[in-house]
Amino acid sequence: MSARLEVFLARLYVEAAAREAYRADPDRETTRAGLDAAERAALAAIDAADLDLAAQGFAAKRSHKRRHRWLERVRRYARRLWGRAAAGTSGSRSSIRPRAS
Protein backbone atom coordinates (compact mmCIF):
# COMPACT_ATOMS: atom_id res chain seq x y z
CA MET A 1 0.00 0.00 0.00
CA SER A 2 1.44 3.27 -1.15
CA ALA A 3 2.01 6.76 0.11
CA ARG A 4 -0.99 7.69 -2.05
CA LEU A 5 -3.19 5.69 0.31
CA GLU A 6 -1.86 7.64 3.31
CA VAL A 7 -2.66 10.91 1.56
CA PHE A 8 -6.15 9.70 0.70
CA LEU A 9 -6.70 8.53 4.27
CA ALA A 10 -5.44 11.82 5.72
CA ARG A 11 -7.87 13.69 3.46
CA LEU A 12 -10.74 11.49 4.63
CA TYR A 13 -9.78 12.22 8.24
CA VAL A 14 -9.61 15.97 7.69
CA GLU A 15 -12.30 16.89 5.13
CA ALA A 16 -15.98 16.12 5.60
CA ALA A 17 -16.54 16.85 1.91
CA ALA A 18 -13.97 14.21 0.97
CA ARG A 19 -15.77 11.65 3.12
CA GLU A 20 -19.09 12.49 1.51
CA ALA A 21 -17.63 12.29 -1.99
CA TYR A 22 -16.00 8.94 -1.21
CA ARG A 23 -19.25 7.51 0.14
CA ALA A 24 -21.19 8.78 -2.86
CA ASP A 25 -18.83 7.23 -5.39
CA PRO A 26 -15.87 5.29 -3.97
CA ASP A 27 -14.68 4.06 -7.40
CA ARG A 28 -14.54 7.55 -8.87
CA GLU A 29 -12.70 9.01 -5.85
CA THR A 30 -10.17 6.21 -5.45
CA THR A 31 -9.48 6.10 -9.20
CA ARG A 32 -8.93 9.84 -9.18
CA ALA A 33 -6.47 9.35 -6.28
CA GLY A 34 -4.57 6.67 -8.22
CA LEU A 35 -5.22 3.86 -5.75
CA ASP A 36 -4.85 0.27 -6.87
CA ALA A 37 -7.35 -2.54 -6.37
CA ALA A 38 -5.82 -3.75 -3.09
CA GLU A 39 -5.87 -0.24 -1.66
CA ARG A 40 -9.49 0.24 -2.73
CA ALA A 41 -10.46 -3.02 -1.07
CA ALA A 42 -8.62 -2.05 2.11
CA LEU A 43 -10.44 1.28 2.21
CA ALA A 44 -13.79 -0.37 1.57
CA ALA A 45 -13.32 -2.45 4.72
CA ILE A 46 -13.22 0.66 6.93
CA ASP A 47 -16.27 1.00 9.16
CA ALA A 48 -18.09 4.19 8.11
CA ALA A 49 -19.28 5.04 11.64
CA ASP A 50 -15.77 4.54 13.03
CA LEU A 51 -14.34 6.80 10.33
CA ASP A 52 -16.79 9.59 11.23
CA LEU A 53 -16.04 9.17 14.91
CA ALA A 54 -12.29 9.32 14.35
CA ALA A 55 -12.66 12.36 12.08
CA GLN A 56 -14.69 14.15 14.77
CA GLY A 57 -11.98 13.35 17.30
CA PHE A 58 -9.25 14.74 15.02
CA ALA A 59 -11.28 17.90 14.39
CA ALA A 60 -11.69 18.41 18.14
CA LYS A 61 -7.94 17.99 18.64
CA ARG A 62 -7.15 20.52 15.92
CA SER A 63 -9.54 22.99 17.50
CA HIS A 64 -8.05 22.38 20.95
CA LYS A 65 -4.53 22.95 19.61
CA ARG A 66 -5.54 26.23 17.99
CA ARG A 67 -6.97 27.43 21.31
CA HIS A 68 -3.87 26.23 23.15
CA ARG A 69 -1.54 28.09 20.77
CA TRP A 70 -3.56 31.27 21.21
CA LEU A 71 -3.52 30.95 25.02
CA GLU A 72 0.21 30.26 24.95
CA ARG A 73 0.78 33.50 23.04
CA VAL A 74 -1.23 35.40 25.66
CA ARG A 75 0.73 33.74 28.47
CA ARG A 76 4.06 34.61 26.87
CA TYR A 77 2.95 38.20 26.42
CA ALA A 78 1.86 38.36 30.07
CA ARG A 79 5.14 36.83 31.25
CA ARG A 80 7.15 39.40 29.32
CA LEU A 81 5.08 42.24 30.70
CA TRP A 82 5.41 40.87 34.22
CA GLY A 83 9.14 40.27 33.85
CA ARG A 84 9.79 43.81 32.69
CA ALA A 85 7.60 45.31 35.39
CA ALA A 86 9.32 43.23 38.08
CA ALA A 87 12.74 44.31 36.82
CA GLY A 88 11.63 47.93 36.82
CA THR A 89 12.31 48.22 33.12
CA SER A 90 8.81 48.12 31.84
CA GLY A 91 9.22 51.29 29.75
CA SER A 92 6.68 51.91 27.11
CA ARG A 93 4.06 49.20 26.73
CA SER A 94 4.05 49.82 23.04
CA SER A 95 7.60 48.48 22.86
CA ILE A 96 6.49 45.05 24.02
CA ARG A 97 5.16 42.78 21.37
CA PRO A 98 3.94 39.19 21.69
CA ARG A 99 6.45 36.86 20.14
CA ALA A 100 5.44 35.41 16.82
CA SER A 101 5.08 31.69 17.24
Partner: protein, 292 residues
Protein backbone atom coordinates in the same frame (compact mmCIF):
# COMPACT_ATOMS: atom_id res chain seq x y z
CA UNK B 1 29.48 -18.64 29.61
CA UNK B 2 27.80 -18.12 32.97
CA UNK B 3 24.37 -16.51 33.03
CA UNK B 4 24.46 -12.91 34.10
CA UNK B 5 21.60 -11.95 36.36
CA UNK B 6 20.08 -8.63 35.34
CA UNK B 7 18.87 -6.55 38.24
CA UNK B 8 15.34 -5.32 37.72
CA UNK B 9 14.77 -1.76 38.88
CA UNK B 10 11.39 -0.58 37.69
CA UNK B 11 10.55 3.08 38.09
CA UNK B 12 7.27 4.94 38.26
CA UNK B 13 6.90 8.57 37.32
CA UNK B 14 4.65 11.23 35.94
CA UNK B 15 4.13 13.22 32.78
CA UNK B 16 5.54 16.71 33.30
CA UNK B 17 2.73 19.27 33.00
CA UNK B 18 2.89 22.96 33.94
CA UNK B 19 -0.27 22.54 36.03
CA UNK B 20 1.43 19.81 38.09
CA UNK B 21 4.95 21.25 38.13
CA UNK B 22 4.97 22.69 41.64
CA UNK B 23 3.41 19.60 43.20
CA UNK B 24 5.70 17.30 41.23
CA UNK B 25 8.82 19.16 42.33
CA UNK B 26 7.53 19.08 45.89
CA UNK B 27 7.18 15.30 45.82
CA UNK B 28 10.30 14.11 44.04
CA UNK B 29 10.70 11.51 46.78
CA UNK B 30 7.74 9.67 45.25
CA UNK B 31 8.31 10.50 41.58
CA UNK B 32 11.14 8.42 40.14
CA UNK B 33 11.18 10.02 36.71
CA UNK B 34 9.31 12.66 34.71
CA UNK B 35 8.37 12.53 31.06
CA UNK B 36 8.62 15.82 29.19
CA UNK B 37 6.64 16.45 26.01
CA UNK B 38 9.41 17.38 23.59
CA UNK B 39 7.15 19.27 21.21
CA UNK B 40 6.37 21.82 23.94
CA UNK B 41 10.03 22.84 23.73
CA UNK B 42 10.47 22.95 19.97
CA UNK B 43 11.48 26.52 19.20
CA UNK B 44 12.14 27.28 22.86
CA UNK B 45 14.55 30.08 23.70
CA UNK B 46 17.98 29.27 25.10
CA UNK B 47 16.69 30.50 28.45
CA UNK B 48 13.76 28.07 28.44
CA UNK B 49 16.07 25.23 27.44
CA UNK B 50 18.28 26.07 30.40
CA UNK B 51 15.21 25.63 32.59
CA UNK B 52 14.72 22.20 31.05
CA UNK B 53 18.34 21.36 31.79
CA UNK B 54 17.83 22.47 35.39
CA UNK B 55 14.81 20.19 35.68
CA UNK B 56 16.87 17.30 34.32
CA UNK B 57 19.49 17.96 36.99
CA UNK B 58 16.87 17.42 39.69
CA UNK B 59 15.04 14.36 38.45
CA UNK B 60 15.61 11.74 35.73
CA UNK B 61 13.93 12.91 32.53
CA UNK B 62 12.65 11.03 29.50
CA UNK B 63 11.44 12.79 26.37
CA UNK B 64 8.24 12.09 24.50
CA UNK B 65 7.41 13.29 21.00
CA UNK B 66 3.88 13.63 19.68
CA UNK B 67 4.11 15.07 16.18
CA UNK B 68 6.90 13.48 14.16
CA UNK B 69 4.66 10.94 12.47
CA UNK B 70 7.30 8.22 12.21
CA UNK B 71 4.91 5.45 11.15
CA UNK B 72 4.58 6.52 7.58
CA UNK B 73 5.88 5.52 4.18
CA UNK B 74 6.78 9.20 3.81
CA UNK B 75 9.95 10.69 5.28
CA UNK B 76 9.88 12.88 8.36
CA UNK B 77 11.20 16.36 7.65
CA UNK B 78 14.77 16.94 8.79
CA UNK B 79 13.75 20.20 10.50
CA UNK B 80 11.42 18.30 12.84
CA UNK B 81 14.14 15.82 13.76
CA UNK B 82 16.61 18.66 14.32
CA UNK B 83 14.11 20.30 16.67
CA UNK B 84 13.89 17.03 18.60
CA UNK B 85 17.70 16.80 18.68
CA UNK B 86 17.94 20.33 20.11
CA UNK B 87 15.55 19.49 22.95
CA UNK B 88 17.29 16.16 23.59
CA UNK B 89 20.61 17.96 23.76
CA UNK B 90 19.22 20.22 26.49
CA UNK B 91 17.37 17.55 28.47
CA UNK B 92 19.90 14.71 28.09
CA UNK B 93 17.05 12.22 28.54
CA UNK B 94 17.55 8.61 29.47
CA UNK B 95 15.56 7.77 26.34
CA UNK B 96 13.09 9.36 23.99
CA UNK B 97 9.96 8.03 22.40
CA UNK B 98 7.45 8.67 19.62
CA UNK B 99 4.22 7.15 18.43
CA UNK B 100 3.53 4.49 15.87
CA UNK B 101 1.33 6.96 14.06
CA UNK B 102 1.16 9.21 11.06
CA UNK B 103 -0.01 12.76 11.60
CA UNK B 104 0.16 14.34 8.15
CA UNK B 105 0.29 13.37 4.49
CA UNK B 106 0.13 15.26 1.23
CA UNK B 107 -0.24 18.60 2.99
CA UNK B 108 -3.12 17.45 5.20
CA UNK B 109 -2.41 17.97 8.90
CA UNK B 110 -4.56 15.46 10.73
CA UNK B 111 -3.96 17.22 14.04
CA UNK B 112 -3.51 14.10 16.09
CA UNK B 113 -2.11 10.59 16.06
CA UNK B 114 -3.65 8.48 13.31
CA UNK B 115 -3.21 4.77 12.74
CA UNK B 116 -1.38 4.20 9.46
CA UNK B 117 -2.35 1.51 6.97
CA UNK B 118 -1.11 -1.83 8.28
CA UNK B 119 1.16 -2.65 5.36
CA UNK B 120 4.72 -3.61 4.48
CA UNK B 121 5.19 -0.07 3.15
CA UNK B 122 4.44 1.55 6.49
CA UNK B 123 6.62 -0.99 8.33
CA UNK B 124 9.53 -0.17 6.00
CA UNK B 125 8.78 3.54 6.21
CA UNK B 126 8.76 3.40 10.01
CA UNK B 127 12.12 1.65 10.02
CA UNK B 128 13.61 4.22 7.64
CA UNK B 129 12.25 7.11 9.72
CA UNK B 130 13.53 5.58 12.96
CA UNK B 131 16.96 5.10 11.38
CA UNK B 132 16.97 8.72 10.22
CA UNK B 133 15.84 9.90 13.65
CA UNK B 134 18.58 7.83 15.27
CA UNK B 135 21.23 9.52 13.13
CA UNK B 136 19.93 13.05 13.75
CA UNK B 137 18.95 12.81 17.42
CA UNK B 138 21.72 10.44 18.46
CA UNK B 139 19.51 7.61 19.73
CA UNK B 140 16.61 5.63 18.34
CA UNK B 141 13.22 6.35 19.87
CA UNK B 142 11.09 3.84 21.66
CA UNK B 143 7.88 3.42 19.69
CA UNK B 144 4.45 3.69 21.27
CA UNK B 145 1.23 1.93 20.25
CA UNK B 146 -1.65 4.36 19.79
CA UNK B 147 -5.35 4.36 20.54
CA UNK B 148 -7.55 4.54 17.47
CA UNK B 149 -11.28 4.83 16.94
CA UNK B 150 -11.08 3.44 13.42
CA UNK B 151 -9.32 0.33 12.23
CA UNK B 152 -7.03 1.47 9.42
CA UNK B 153 -6.72 -0.12 5.99
CA UNK B 154 -4.92 -3.43 6.16
CA UNK B 155 -7.01 -4.87 8.96
CA UNK B 156 -6.23 -8.41 7.80
CA UNK B 157 -3.04 -7.80 9.82
CA UNK B 158 -3.83 -7.49 13.52
CA UNK B 159 -2.54 -4.46 15.39
CA UNK B 160 -0.19 -6.73 17.35
CA UNK B 161 1.26 -8.23 14.16
CA UNK B 162 1.85 -4.82 12.64
CA UNK B 163 3.39 -3.37 15.85
CA UNK B 164 5.67 -6.39 16.26
CA UNK B 165 6.78 -6.08 12.62
CA UNK B 166 7.47 -2.36 13.00
CA UNK B 167 9.55 -2.95 16.16
CA UNK B 168 11.50 -5.75 14.50
CA UNK B 169 12.22 -3.70 11.36
CA UNK B 170 13.18 -0.66 13.43
CA UNK B 171 15.27 -2.66 15.91
CA UNK B 172 14.00 -0.62 18.81
CA UNK B 173 11.95 -1.01 21.96
CA UNK B 174 8.29 -0.54 22.73
CA UNK B 175 6.68 2.09 24.90
CA UNK B 176 3.51 0.15 25.61
CA UNK B 177 0.55 2.37 26.38
CA UNK B 178 -1.70 0.09 28.37
CA UNK B 179 -4.77 2.31 28.21
CA UNK B 180 -4.41 2.50 24.43
CA UNK B 181 -4.22 -1.29 24.40
CA UNK B 182 -7.21 -1.56 26.73
CA UNK B 183 -9.26 0.88 24.63
CA UNK B 184 -8.45 -0.76 21.29
CA UNK B 185 -9.06 -4.24 22.69
CA UNK B 186 -12.43 -3.15 24.07
CA UNK B 187 -13.50 -1.22 20.97
CA UNK B 188 -12.40 -3.80 18.40
CA UNK B 189 -13.03 -6.93 20.41
CA UNK B 190 -9.64 -8.57 20.79
CA UNK B 191 -7.86 -10.05 23.78
CA UNK B 192 -5.18 -7.70 25.17
CA UNK B 193 -3.25 -10.69 26.51
CA UNK B 194 -3.07 -12.10 22.98
CA UNK B 195 -1.58 -8.74 21.95
CA UNK B 196 1.08 -9.13 24.67
CA UNK B 197 1.85 -12.65 23.44
CA UNK B 198 2.69 -11.22 20.01
CA UNK B 199 5.17 -8.66 21.32
CA UNK B 200 8.69 -9.94 22.05
CA UNK B 201 9.11 -9.41 25.80
CA UNK B 202 12.66 -8.12 25.36
CA UNK B 203 11.27 -5.13 23.46
CA UNK B 204 9.18 -3.96 26.44
CA UNK B 205 10.99 -0.95 27.83
CA UNK B 206 8.49 1.64 29.02
CA UNK B 207 4.81 1.88 29.90
CA UNK B 208 2.17 4.58 29.75
CA UNK B 209 -0.79 4.52 32.09
CA UNK B 210 -3.81 6.75 31.58
CA UNK B 211 -7.54 6.89 31.83
CA UNK B 212 -10.49 7.53 29.61
CA UNK B 213 -14.25 7.31 29.50
CA UNK B 214 -17.09 5.57 27.77
CA UNK B 215 -18.79 7.41 24.94
CA UNK B 216 -21.89 6.43 22.99
CA UNK B 217 -21.75 7.79 19.43
CA UNK B 218 -24.79 8.13 17.14
CA UNK B 219 -24.42 4.53 15.96
CA UNK B 220 -25.29 3.45 19.53
CA UNK B 221 -22.16 1.31 19.95
CA UNK B 222 -20.32 2.39 23.14
CA UNK B 223 -16.58 2.95 22.82
CA UNK B 224 -13.76 3.63 25.26
CA UNK B 225 -12.23 7.03 24.54
CA UNK B 226 -8.60 7.50 25.59
CA UNK B 227 -8.76 11.07 26.90
CA UNK B 228 -6.13 11.21 29.68
CA UNK B 229 -8.64 13.13 31.79
CA UNK B 230 -9.67 10.36 34.15
CA UNK B 231 -8.11 7.98 36.64
CA UNK B 232 -6.40 4.80 35.49
CA UNK B 233 -9.01 2.01 35.41
CA UNK B 234 -8.45 -1.30 37.12
CA UNK B 235 -8.03 -3.39 33.91
CA UNK B 236 -5.01 -1.25 33.03
CA UNK B 237 -3.30 -2.07 36.32
CA UNK B 238 -4.08 -5.74 35.70
CA UNK B 239 -2.35 -5.45 32.31
CA UNK B 240 0.63 -3.80 34.01
CA UNK B 241 0.99 -6.83 36.25
CA UNK B 242 0.91 -9.07 33.15
CA UNK B 243 3.63 -6.99 31.50
CA UNK B 244 5.80 -7.09 34.63
CA UNK B 245 5.40 -10.86 34.70
CA UNK B 246 6.83 -11.04 31.16
CA UNK B 247 9.39 -8.23 30.71
CA UNK B 248 12.99 -9.30 31.29
CA UNK B 249 14.25 -5.72 31.61
CA UNK B 250 13.52 -2.85 33.96
CA UNK B 251 10.46 -0.82 33.04
CA UNK B 252 9.90 2.91 33.20
CA UNK B 253 6.23 3.52 33.94
CA UNK B 254 4.72 6.95 33.32
CA UNK B 255 1.32 8.10 34.53
CA UNK B 256 -0.15 10.47 31.93
CA UNK B 257 -2.72 13.07 32.89
CA UNK B 258 -3.63 15.92 30.55
CA UNK B 259 -6.41 17.74 32.37
CA UNK B 260 -9.09 17.69 35.06
CA UNK B 261 -6.17 17.40 37.44
CA UNK B 262 -7.05 15.81 40.75
CA UNK B 263 -5.29 16.66 44.03
CA UNK B 264 -1.71 15.38 43.86
CA UNK B 265 -2.33 12.60 46.46
CA UNK B 266 -4.75 11.02 43.97
CA UNK B 267 -1.97 10.82 41.40
CA UNK B 268 0.35 9.44 44.07
CA UNK B 269 -2.24 6.74 44.85
CA UNK B 270 -2.25 5.73 41.18
CA UNK B 271 1.55 5.62 41.12
CA UNK B 272 1.43 3.47 44.25
CA UNK B 273 -1.07 1.17 42.56
CA UNK B 274 1.32 0.89 39.63
CA UNK B 275 4.14 -0.07 41.98
CA UNK B 276 1.95 -2.76 43.53
CA UNK B 277 1.06 -4.14 40.10
CA UNK B 278 4.72 -4.16 39.11
CA UNK B 279 5.69 -5.94 42.32
CA UNK B 280 2.99 -8.58 41.84
CA UNK B 281 4.09 -9.21 38.26
CA UNK B 282 7.76 -9.37 39.17
CA UNK B 283 6.97 -11.89 41.93
CA UNK B 284 5.14 -14.10 39.44
CA UNK B 285 8.11 -13.89 37.10
CA UNK B 286 10.58 -14.75 39.89
CA UNK B 287 8.41 -17.66 41.04
CA UNK B 288 8.20 -18.97 37.49
CA UNK B 289 11.97 -18.75 37.03
CA UNK B 290 12.58 -20.43 40.38
CA UNK B 291 10.27 -23.27 39.42
CA UNK B 292 11.90 -23.75 36.00
Amino acid sequence: MADVAVEIRDRVGLGWRPELAAATLGHLDTVDVVEVIADDWFGASARRLRALRTLASQVPVVLHGVSLGLASSQSVALSRLEAMARVADAARPEFWSEHLAFVRAGGYEIGHLAAPPRSADTVEGTAANVDHAHRVVGAAPLLENIATLVEPPGRHHSEAEWVAAALEASATGLLLDLHNLHANATNFGFDPLAFLEHIPAARLRAIHLAGGRWITPPDGRPRVLDDHLHDVPEPVFALLEEVAARAPRSLTVILERDGRYPPFPVLQQQMDAARRALAAGRKRRADREAAA
